[in-house]
Amino acid sequence: MSVAGTIRRNRLRLGVLVVALVAALAVAVWRDVALTALLTTGFVERSIRAATPIALAAIGGLYAEKSGVFNIGLEGFMIFGAVNAVAVTWLVSGGTAGTVTQTDLWIGLVGAVVLSVLYTVVFAIILLRYEASQIVAGLAVWILGLGFGPFTAVVIWGSQSSPRVGRIDAVSVPGLAEIPFLGDVFFDTSPLVVLTLLLVAAAWVFLYRTRYGYWLQAAGENPEALDTAGVNVSRVRYAAVIFSGAMAGLGGAVLSVGLSSGFVGGGLTMVDGRGWIGIVAYLFGNYNPVGAFGAALLFGAADMFQIQLQTINVDVPATLTGLLPYVVVIIVLAAYGRTRMPARVGEPYESEN
């Protein structure tokens, strides 16, 4: 995959990005806003931060879909991840807010991923063995998340939100953190942001450079081809679906103990639509992990941009500008509706044996 090739293939996509950027700048200039006040290092940092949970879920969803399974339940799995991370942290710390250590938080994060794996195993069985409608079962996961996520909190804390348990500390790499801009963005930030960047890269390498990645792609495009090549399609799909749940769970956990410091279960919960944006992110990123991260970054930036506008007191109705990411999603989908899905997404595949 050459850079030139990638650019050529995605020129429409990139074109819209450029247009969007120019439009945003035009608005800023027209409203006589100082661009430097808008596009700050902090803005970039926050955009990446906001993109992190979305990108994690997106990569999970992307893998599932590449393998031929549409996991529309990402939002639900994120909710479970968010609440479970705090729950596990709480239980290992002995059940008091004051005694939570960094280790407890990391255990909570890992614990949430492990629990997500357990949940997704059940989900994967229902999807793959019992051939459930993937759309409906995925929606059910969301509704289950909205119900049992806060319920878990009620059972543990007697309240649908957890106490504040603190969060995983930012790590500042001595020396590198001093580099202007880059230092702030990459070397003085949450380790989970860095972890996400590494996972994005790893996901790319795995998908395009290892045999398992080849199998994943084949499972979604032509499962018979994979089957007749002697690879168990089911196993590939199970792995992908479980991975997607684990990643969404990680995304939720990152949100609750990485970027925030506890679980909030009111309303749509603290996950607040990020899982849905994750799905759109990988669609827009054309099923490429790096592209998905780029799209997550775009949505994060759209959201952070409207916050920047608010901060410098450009008079925008926040209720409406808060909808910007959703509007962007629709525009993006309308412009790139014809994203080529893997050919066999959604179809159950039964090997005859």
Binding site: A37, T40, G42, F43, R46, R49, A50, A97, G98, S159, Q160, S161, R164, G166, R167, A170, L255, L259, S260, S261, G262, V264, G265, G266, G267, L268, T269, M270, D272, D303, M304, I307, Q308, Q310, T311, I312, N313, P317, A318, T319, G322
Partner: protein
């Protein structure tokens, strides 16, 4: 909520607003007052979480029919339904938070959100140009910039915002206030992004009115080694882990209100609380309290300013914009 108990004593029910309990805002505070009352009197408290506005009318009726002596309704979304139920169930005592229905068996309570927010503005406006160092955090006395983070941009919260801004400008005309909304009352991460953006832009103190999103503002304060002002309760106590950055909280004593109503019901003198109670500064119903860790370390000018502002408000010399529940 178990309606069966309380054979001899009275029963009190509290029906949540559509945000539900555990909102870290008025639902929780109203409930706290009743919990305290239950410890002191022979009453039984039924918590009814109702998040569906369309059900409010029927849930109120059901709670009344179940024989509750006092029913506390959280939030003005209950008003419409109560207008019918108050006459329908005239033997029941009703307490309505944030609004009023003109019936003898209804006690309407409104806390002066705007006044307490004004005081928060006074504190932030004063402290932004003062030298303040605490536990590694500091502000920038040379930079007159503060911030405000709301949950959703609805009239109720806009009243917080405008009064806060007015309070700060009363201290110092040149103060700059960045205001922003997280878009949700339950997304601390979004609130943190807003606060972070404001701290980046130079704000050193941020006041929030974001309910359960609020802790995100404190997270941002800690991350930036800046300060924040809490809301509703003394959040340097209720959110102790942030007490190092919470220099004060705009508080309203909703718990006292529910406690009073419960007590009045127990003592059979509900008439005394019935009617429209605008609980404001003049009745010590709202206040600005200094954060636990900052007590005693605040400069005198702050207490002077606060005193002057309070006096001005009570005397009517200061005209706080908006009113208790909107603009």
């Amino acid at each position: 909520a178990d309606l069966s108990g309380g054979d001899d004593g009275l029963t009190v029910a509290i029906i949540s607003s559509n945000a539900g309990f555990d909102d870290q805002a008025f639902n929780d505070m109203a409930r706290d007052g009743l919990t305290r009352a239950a410890e002191e009197f022979d009453i039984e408290v039924n918590e009814i979480e109702e998040t569906d506005i369309a059900q409010f009318g029927d849930t109120q009726a059901e709670a009344a029919e179940a024989g509750n002596d006092l029913i506390v309704l959280v939030g003005f979304q209950h008003t419409e339904a109560l207008q019918e139920n108050a006459t329908e169930y005239s033997d029941t005592n009703w307490m309505l938070i944030n609004d009023d229905v003109d019936e003898p068996n209804v006690a309407g309570y409104v806390w002066a959100n705007h006044e307490m927010s004004y005081l928060a503005g006074v504190q932030a406006g004063t402290m932004t140009s003062e030298e303040l160092n605490h536990a590694g955090s500091s502000n920038d006395p040379d930079n007159n910039q503060i911030g405000f983070v709301g949950g959703e941009e609805v009239p109720l919260i806009e009243a917080f915002e405008r009064a806060y801004v007015a309070g700060a400008e009363w201290v110092d005309d040149s103060v700059e206030v960045a205001t922003g909304y997280a878009g949700s009352f339950s997304d601390p991460s979004a609130a943190e992004d807003v606060a972070q953006s404001q701290y980046d832009a130079g704000a050193d103190i941020i006041y929030h009115a974001a309910a359960a999103s609020g802790p995100g503002v404190f997270d941002a304060a800690q991350a930036n080694n800046r300060f924040a002002v809490g809301v509703d309760a003394d959040q340097s106590i209720t959110l102790e882990e942030y007490s190092d950055v919470i220099i004060g909280s705009a508080v309203k004593y909703i718990d006292q209100g529910t406690y009073d109503c419960a007590q009045a019901t127990v003592n059979d003198n509900f008439d005394e609380v019935a009617g429209f109670n605008v609980v404001d500064l003049s009745q010590d119903g709202v206040d600005l309290v200094i954060g636990q860790e900052f007590e005693g370390s605040m400069p005198d000018v702050l207490s002077e300013n606060l005193e002057a502002a309070k006096q001005g408000i009570v005397d009517g010399d200061i005209d706080v914009p908006c009113d208790a529940t909107g603009c």
